[in-house]
């Protein structure tokens, strides 16, 4: 118990990094996932193919490899640099990699949602003169989102837990890294272990409950 109190502040600082990463990635992944699903259902074959290729490649690549690619490929090889401060740069490389990865799951959840929207909705939208883009954003996606609030919650929970592999992109500040670092001096500590588990659950459990509740509230009656 003592080591949890002693190293608590350092661990908390690490956990705050996980929370920050989660917040940033949630927004970017939802936006990018929406763009991807729009591509996947678009009438333009090139966009459809590009969306499908992206999703199938990135979704099936282990996250650690995506993050390593973000750090080694995009940063070191292509020269993508967010900041001169290595800590800030590392943060954004993880955020980028995790967002690119999570977006594919958001996309597929939304695509399942689109499949629950009856075809007649899109036809009626077209029949009053809405363009494809208007039909998608005004009619199809709002109904699709409501249908997959709970699965999107699961995607977000998985994403929050995935912030703990940030070290794969060379970001040495998240709680999992701090934990290992601490264990190097204290030896394995069950209280620290459990403390971190509780911290994650304190965030992810409410998300599960909230999205479950929202999905019932927002359900579209047909």
């Amino acid at each position: 118990m003592n080591e949890l109190i002693e190293y608590g502040p350092a661990l908390w600082e690490g956990f705050v990094q996980n929370l920050k990463l989660s917040a940033v990635c949630a927004i970017m992944a939802l936006v990018l996932g929406t763009v991807l699903v729009s591509m996947r259902v678009s009438p333009t074959p090139v966009l459809r193919a590009a969306g499908a290729a992206y999703v199938n490649i990135v979704r099936n690549t282990p996250l650690t490899l995506v993050l390593a690619f973000s750090a080694l490929g995009l940063s070191d090889q292509v020269g993508l640099v967010f900041s001169d401060d290595p800590a800030i740069n590392g943060f954004w490389l993880v955020a980028l990699g995790l967002s690119l990865y999570t977006a594919t799951f958001v996309c597929e959840a939304l695509r399942a949602g689109i499949n629950t929207v009856p075809f007649g909705q899109a036809e009626a939208a077209r029949a009053i003169g809405l363009t494809f883009f208007q039909s998608l954003t005004l009619i199809i996606l709002p109904q699709a989102f409501r249908a997959v609030v709970a699965p999107l919650g699961s995607v977000m929970i998985a994403m929050i837990k995935n912030t703990t592999v940030a070290v794969a992109a060379g970001y040495l500040a998240d709680v999992a890294f701090v934990m290992k670092d601490t264990f190097d001096t204290t030896g394995v500590s069950i209280p620290i272990f459990l403390g971190i588990v509780v911290a994650f659950m304190a965030v992810t459990l409410p998300i599960g409950f909230l999205t479950g509740w929202l999905s019932r509230r927002l359900a579209v009656a047909r």
Binding site: G120, Q121, A124, A127
Partner: protein
């Protein structure tokens, strides 16, 4: 021809359409005049819906020409969206936007397609809902309404775009019997007001009261064109007589 109005609103010339091997529209020649109410009738699978849907290009055609208001139907993009905004469509299954209220269903097109001001669109929307007899339901969602009320909303949604024509594809087939008449009454009112209408329906009462012409379709062809009275009492073709004998027995 006296003036421009004598040009038919819709003209189909030599229109053909396949679904894979199936030849669903065969050499269709058809005109719809301004202010005319055309009833399309015929056996299931005869191509009535497909014919209806080619007129606002929800279905593409393989060959032939369709002109609307003197111009060929645009193939895609903004011009096609504009055409569709001028041709209303009422579906068998209503297809109201499930996540929007009744009033929002009616104002969406005017606001998003025509760029109308929300206040003006809502006022007009309420007038139209009044006209079809459901203004009191304006704030409800489609699933809270009866089928007849939903279909009347769908008609109001089409009217909100001030269309030059409205297509109806079996508008009363999905309704409980006691709700059929309330929808037909609205349609008869539109016909009286001079709306150009193409109506796929088996409602003989409607055809006799409101239609100028009946087109009998079977196997992808227009088999007979006639006045409603002639058609129902004295059909010329055996195919039509056979069909009528079947629907008249129930």
């Amino acid at each position: 021809m006296k003036n421009g109005d004598a040009v038919p609103l819709v003209k189909l010339e030599n229109v053909n359409k396949h679904f894979g091997e199936l030849h669903v529209l065969r050499d269709i020649h058809l005109t719809v005049d301004r202010g005319e109410v055309l009833v399309v009738i015929g056996p299931s699978g005869g191509g009535k819906s497909t014919l209806c849907r080619t007129m606002n290009r929800l279905e593409t055609i393989d060959s032939g020409v369709i002109t609307f208001d003197g111009r060929p139907l645009p193939a895609e993009g903004k011009p096609l969206a504009k055409l569709r905004s001028e041709v209303g469509m009422v579906f068998q299954s209503f297809n109201l936007f499930a996540h929007k209220t009744i009033l929002e269903n009616v104002t969406l097109g005017p606001i998003k397609v025509r760029g109308q001001d929300r206040k003006a669109a809502e006022q007009r929307g309420l007038e139209l809902l009044e006209r079809v007899g459901i203004a009191s339901q304006a704030g409800k969602y489609p699933a809270q309404l009866s089928g007849g009320q939903q279909q009347r909303t769908a008609i109001a949604r089409a009217l909100a775009m001030d269309p030059k024509m409205i297509l109806f594809d079996e508008p009363t087939s999905a309704l409980d019997p006691e709700m059929v008449q309330e929808v037909l009454d609205v349609m008869i009112g539109l016909a009286r007001d001079g709306m150009t209408m193409v109506v796929v329906t088996h409602e003989m009462g409607f055809a006799r009261r409101a239609a100028n012409r009946v087109v009998f379709m079977a196997d992808g062809q227009v088999v007979e064109e006639n006045t409603p009275d002639e058609f129902f009492t004295n059909a010329r073709t055996d195919r039509a007589k056979d069909f009528l004998s079947k629907i008249l027995t129930h």
